[in-house]
């Protein structure tokens, strides 16, 4: 008998959680990693923000850090950037301790904060001109403005730029010093699809120049498109760390469809090949299975007997969004 989940909020059944929360470990030669974190702990009062996190980021890769809000992403980034102290654990960023060797590390990194970080009354040109003076061999402001498409707004004050323009300026500011390691905290939030594609190309161009990139995002499209590897964390622990394609393959097979809202999930659960029913609301169902071929056969028979049209019927692996939902029990956006 399949387990059923009929809550209006799509939440996976319990069976997965225990397995999912066991810490994932992987071993890489620490000396060659761009970033190495071993058994990192950080707590705020009673809250364990980071709870025994370990992973390595390889030189030249784009590494996506995903997790629900409050999972510990920002705390982890801020420890790597040198903003925050850690309670215990070993951290190496480009071979430096971000706390004790900040002076050596800062010229080598670029940071794009999740929001703000720029003087409201200053223009893009003035900001880049200022940052240009901080780095050896920095890029020229005019070149960067052209790169991120802000040449026409070079003399507009920051607070008068659109949300997308503000993000592009923050990105330009992050890459002005030819960083070896780039931190991007939700780089395409507030961007329209066009600006987003341009930004993805910019980020990929950085990678081609040898920059290692660590990014957080709420967009699965972004993670699939950009990331060489995806880490999913929750409650300060690493749940999984793999290439996006491997993550999806490792997940089970699913069959998904839309139908009338009136379908009773308990009725679906009677189909022999179904191992779990997820009712996503608005008549959308996802059925997990070990045998997708048998399930398709049984499902269509089931539907025919009841005179139900299975709309958007699709069989295959989980999407990255499904993997995220299964591992964390949360929607990526909430």
């Amino acid at each position: 008998m399949a387990s059923i989940n009929t809550t209006s909020q799509p939440v996976t059944a319990n069976g997965h959680a225990d397995q999912a929360h066991s810490p994932v470990q992987e071993t890489v030669d620490i000396g060659s990693a761009a970033v190495s974190i071993t058994d990192l702990h950080k707590r705020y009062g009673d809250l364990k923000a980071v709870d025994g996190l370990s992973f390595q980021i390889r030189p030249g890769e784009i590494f996506a850090l995903l997790g629900p809000n409050g999972a510990g992403k920002t705390t982890t980034l801020e420890i790597l950037e040198g903003y925050r102290s850690r309670d215990s654990g070993a951290v190496s960023v480009l071979g430096f301790d971000p706390q004790r060797e900040a002076t050596q590390l800062k010229p080598l990194i670029g940071v794009m904060l999740q929001s703000g970080g720029i003087y409201p009354t200053v223009t893009p040109f003035e900001l880049l001109e200022l940052l240009n003076s901080f780095y050896p061999n920095a890029r020229q402001p005019a070149e960067l403005l052209d790169l991120v498409g802000l040449t026409d707004s070079a003399n507009t004050r920051y607070k008068q730029l659109s949300g997308g323009q503000q993000r592009r300026l923050a990105l330009a500011a992050a890459i002005i010093g030819h960083p070896k390691l780039l931190f991007l905290d939700e780089p395409t939030s507030a961007m329209d699809p066009q600006a987003r594609r341009v930004t993805w190309e910019l980020i990929e161009a950085q990678q081609q120049q040898g920059t290692t990139i660590i990014l957080t995002t709420h967009s699965m499209d972004e993670a699939e498109r950009l990331a060489d590897r995806v880490a999913i964390i929750d409650h300060g622990k690493l749940l999984t760390l793999e290439e996006p394609s491997a993550l999806r393959r490792n997940g089970g097979s699913t069959v998904r469809f839309s139908g009338p809202d009136s379908i009773d999930p308990a009725d679906l659960a009677g189909i022999p090949a179904a191992s779990e029913i997820i009712a996503k609301g608005s008549g959308q169902f996802v059925i997990e299975t070990d045998d997708p071929i048998a399930l398709l056969d049984e499902l269509t028979t089931w539907a025919r007997q009841r005179g139900i049209l299975l709309d958007d019927l699709r069989a295959g692996h989980e999407t990255l969004e499904d993997v995220f939902l299964r591992l964390t029990g949360h929607q990526i956006r909430e």
Partner: protein, 240 residues
């Protein structure tokens, strides 16, 4: 261009862009100088009130640019995340603080010229005493109040900084030897008042501009406030 010069330019630009704040900074000491000058408010030992009032208003101008203007601007930069962002660049904390102090000194210079112009043209003030020493004390005083402003911004939230800076400004204007000399305030108030940085600053300026002699005790008091303020500010200053 060096990071320090670029950041100093940025700090001056930021000061000038907050035009309403600059205006208040400029206007209050000017209005008080003209108003009190016309009334002739000064202790009786000053035959010309302007000899008392000009040093007072110079101190007030330094205080409004350094303590009030700088602390509020810096506290809002923190709440906008600007300081956090700068914290990940190679700009050192020392250079950021120095750039801020430099910008206060330059803006104060403009105020000094305006106030001296009004005193000279409107009230017949003529330079006497030791101008070089007066200049040195003005720089020490400006750095002191800039340091105290950074100290406030470093330990308080933006809204609290705004309220605290304005309260301290009014308090020092009344009880800090600016509008009336510390030694003429009643009893214990006079002792406390003479230890405040604004009293020490104003007393030193008045003595130097009238006698040409540098009074040791007020300069020591002012310097102690300055060194302590800048030291504690650089220790407690947070990027976030």
């Amino acid at each position: 261009m060096s990071a320090l010069i670029a950041q100093t330019r940025m700090e001056i630009r930021l000061t000038m862009r907050r035009f309403e704040a600059v205006l208040i900074t400029m206007v209050v000491p000017v209005i008080l100088l003209i108003f009190l000058g016309l009334i002739g408010l000064a202790p009786e030992e000053y035959s010309r009130p302007v000899d008392f009032l000009l040093p007072s208003m110079l101190v007030l101008a330094v205080m409004s640019t350094g303590l009030v203007g700088l602390s509020i601007r810096t506290a809002y930069e923190r709440s906008y995340g600007v300081l956090k962002r700068l914290g990940s660049t190679p700009l050192s904390r020392g250079n950021l603080l120095l750039a801020k102090i430099n910008s206060v000194i330059l803006v104060t210079l403009i105020q000094i010229v305006v106030l001296i112009g009004i005193a000279a043209l409107g009230f017949g003030w003529r330079p006497e005493g030791n101008l070089l020493l007066a200049g040195i004390v003005l720089v020490i005083g400006t750095a002191t109040f800039a340091g105290l402003g950074l100290l406030l911004a470093g330990i308080l939230r933006a809204e609290t900084t705004l309220a605290a800076a304005n309260t301290i400004y009014i308090f020092l204007l009344l009880f800090g030897g600016i509008i009336w000399p510390a030694e003429r305030l009643p009893g214990a108030v006079s002792v406390v008042s003479s230890l405040l940085p604004s009293s020490a600053f104003a007393t030193a300026l008045r003595d130097i501009l009238s006698t040409g002699e540098a009074p040791v005790t007020p300069i020591i008091i002012l310097s102690v406030w300055g060194i302590a303020g800048i030291l504690i500010a650089s220790r407690t200053f947070r990027w976030e």
